[in-house]
């Protein structure tokens, strides 16, 4: 009995997936746990593993092609078997019908197919929707599970501006009903707005031809959507400061000379992450999220660090940075940034930030303003550290000055809260030994 493999949901916000490349060919046998393909989501490239052994009968979606969640991407079965034709109609990398249509198609479905449900596919759908998907394929549309949402979950999602279409059939309630806990998870993971962070958009890798039109990658699409949503719905205010980094730079030099043999190397950014985390713990009013008309407080400072990619960005998270020494923050950040650039981050590594740091200092930026990444309520934009003449104790002296701008959600905190947070960050960085205790 052949069965479909469908595009799995590999992140909470994913609505479609792109086959990066197949690692198996038609006719290949595979064992449970084998990686069948690499799938590019809006966040990362992830491995698609087989739950059970089988043979690839037909590949429906080729390398580089994009299909909606739940769309069939391959037919698998026993060796020598032929693909079930009824399951292959309407294949290919076509755009999926919008969710409303899918739902309508599901509702219009007269009766379930008597066919037994697939028994061994990754990302298996519930039997009902599975049979619906198959028969719906016959008339050119493809149905996924109907979107069922409890009233409170629907209300919360509406208020948070979350589109639950991608959650169809995937909630924790009966028959995949999306319930309050699911929406809370989506909101608190920051999932839906994740890659939305600072501007930073480095040039594309190959020179585009005149007038060339390119599709956005899933990640760039997510950035575009979420940045728009944040800038349009979150009332930003900005507080700006200049931080004297002279002593911090001395400390860093001292640390790095001492750590030279260990392979560890502390960056300015690591000190900023540490200072931010400590400051956030002292200012709970500047460290809370505005969610569903309420304030959600955070027990620890999970710091998102914007990492520029060749085209776009991603924000891996150093969790509980308030509890970690600078050296550990540094190691984690280096590992996360390296894997971010390699497209190897795991979903959980880009979830759950409570505050973000976006540092464009390496591009000699004097100063900039970053867009908040909801439900985080603040982000700090860091410019370059430069030698500048400043007045110290009535004398002009040359100091290493770094300009920073804190963007805050005015629904979560007031101007004074933001100012106090920034003041503490400044004090910590100007008395940097405090970062070591």
């Amino acid at each position: 009995m052949s069965e479909e493999l469908v595009m799995p949901r590999l992140s909470d916000t994913m609505e479609e997936g792109t086959i990066g490349r197949w690692l198996v060919h038609e006719g290949d046998a595979f064992a449970a746990g084998d990686v069948l393909a690499e799938i590019e989501t809006d966040k990362a490239t992830m491995e698609f593993q087989a739950y059970d052994a089988g043979t690839v009968l037909r590949i429906l979606v080729g390398d580089g092609e994009t299909v909606a969640l739940g769309a069939p991407i391959a037919i698998v079965g026993a060796e020598g078997e032929t693909a079930d034709e009824s399951a292959t109609a309407g294949n290919g990398a076509t755009a999926p019908p919008p969710p409303q249509e899918e739902e309508a198609a599901a509702e219009a479905e007269p009766e379930p197919e008597p066919e037994p449900e697939p028994k061994a596919a990754p990302a298996r759908k519930p039997s009902k929707s599975s049979s619906k998907a198959k028969s719906a394929a016959g008339n050119g549309s493809r149905a996924t599970a109907a979107l069922r949402v409890s009233p409170i979950a629907r209300r919360m999602a509406d208020q948070a501006g979350i589109d639950l279409a991608a959650m169809a059939g995937r909630g924790s309630g009966p028959e995949g009903r999306v319930v309050k806990a699911d929406v809370e998870r989506l909101i608190s993971s920051g999932e839906l707005t994740r890659p939305a962070t600072a501007a930073g958009a480095p040039a594309a890798q190959s020179a585009p031809a005149e007038g060339e039109v390119r599709e956005l990658t899933p990640m760039l699409k997510a950035v575009a959507t979420r940045m728009t949503q944040s800038k349009q719905t979150v009332p930003h205010f900005y507080v700006e400061s200049e931080i004297d980094m002279t002593r911090a730079m001395q400390l860093r030099a001292e640390l790095n000379s001492g750590l030279a043999d260990s392979g560890d190397k502390i960056s300015v950014n690591d000190l900023i992450v540490r200072a931010s985390a400590l400051a956030l713990m002292r200012h709970p009013q500047a460290h809370r999220s505005f969610v569903d008309g309420r304030h959600v407080y955070h027990a620890h400072a999970n710091i998102g660090i914007a990492v520029a990619l060749d085209d776009g960005l991603i924000v891996p998270v150093v969790n509980e940075a308030d509890t970690k020494p600078v050296r550990e923050i540094s190691r984690e950040t280096r590992d996360l940034a390296g894997r971010a650039r390699a497209g190897k981050l795991k979903q959980r590594e880009i979830e759950g930030a409570t505050f973000s740091v976006s540092n464009l200092g390496m591009f000699d930026v004097a100063n900039f303003e970053a867009i908040i990444n909801p439900p985080e309520s603040a982000i700090i934009a860091v410019g370059a550290t430069v030698d500048r003449p400043v007045v110290v104790d009535g004398e002009i002296a040359v100091r290493k000055i770094m300009r920073v701008t804190l963007s805050c959600d005015h629904r979560a905190c007031s101007g004074a809260d933001g100012a106090k947070l920034l003041q503490t960050i400044k004090q910590l960085l100007q008395s940097p030994s405090l970062l070591l205790v």
């Binding site: 409890s150 009233p151 409170i152 979950a153 629907r154 209300r155 909630g171 924790s172 309630g173 009966p174 009903r177 319930v179 309050k180 806990a181 699911d182």
Partner: protein
Amino acid sequence: MADLTYREALRRALDDELARDPDVFLMGEEIGRFEGSYKVTAGLWQKYGPERVRETPISEEGFVGAGIGAAMMGLRPVVEIMTINFILVAMDQVINHAAKIRYMFGGAVGVPMVIRTPGGAGAQLTAQHSQSLEAWFAGCPGMKVVAPASVADAYGMMKTAIRDDDPVLFVENLVMYNVTGTMPDDPDFTVPLGRAAVVREGRDLTLVAHSYTVQRALRVADTMSRDGIEIEVVDLRSLRPLDAETVAESVRKTNRALIAEEGWSTYGVGAELAARIHRLCFDDLDAPVERVGGAEVPMPYSKPLELAALPLESKIEAAARGLLAESGIT
């Protein structure tokens, strides 16, 4: 604050009201010399005499009717019906007369009467003597129906019921009689009718009950609290008027509602409340409203079968966990 039984709280309320108001009198089967089948009127016949603690023949229709007549003439009778099962022979008096007279007389005459009667099961009294029929009466306009679940409420609500100018069916509970609890020392303490009470706060689920089932609900909440699940228990106290707003306020917080009662679920208190909750809190619900009631059979005599038919803690807990599972909480 003093510890006493539900039975004693009721007895004291009757005693205090007999002493306070000479128009108050008691009537019922063997409530005098024998002090009542469940001893709620203990000592009152001796204290107030046969005029004010009147023994009646086994004739529910007759003495409920007599109570209605006395009430219409200005007295405040408290009529005991030995168990709620025996009220059935007096249905015409209760529904067609007590509940209707104020309306039929254009508001000129009322029936300030209390009918006290215990319901509930659990003592192998089998099909005819184990019923919880209060929902039938709570469906009838013109009646007030209350069912206190604590010692303080038994005392405070009995006094309020006696002072009320309309007929009140005061539903006691056979198992509750020996439950002890604290009562405020204030002799003027009363509890208003028509107000529910949040008797335990929680955030995950609202569990609504009345009468003895509140005790079960509290035990379920205790048990589940050990697993980190916090149940809010709402004691309805009055079934008519029904304080749906207090329930709704709780459900708006917890997003889930379970109603437990010893009577049958079908057309029961839970049925009524479920309808109200869906209307008042539709957008707050994370799961459908759930009910637990007694098995829909005549109560069996056999002890294992009786236990199987009752909405014991295990059933309430299972329903609560099922409801929470629907919300992804385990």
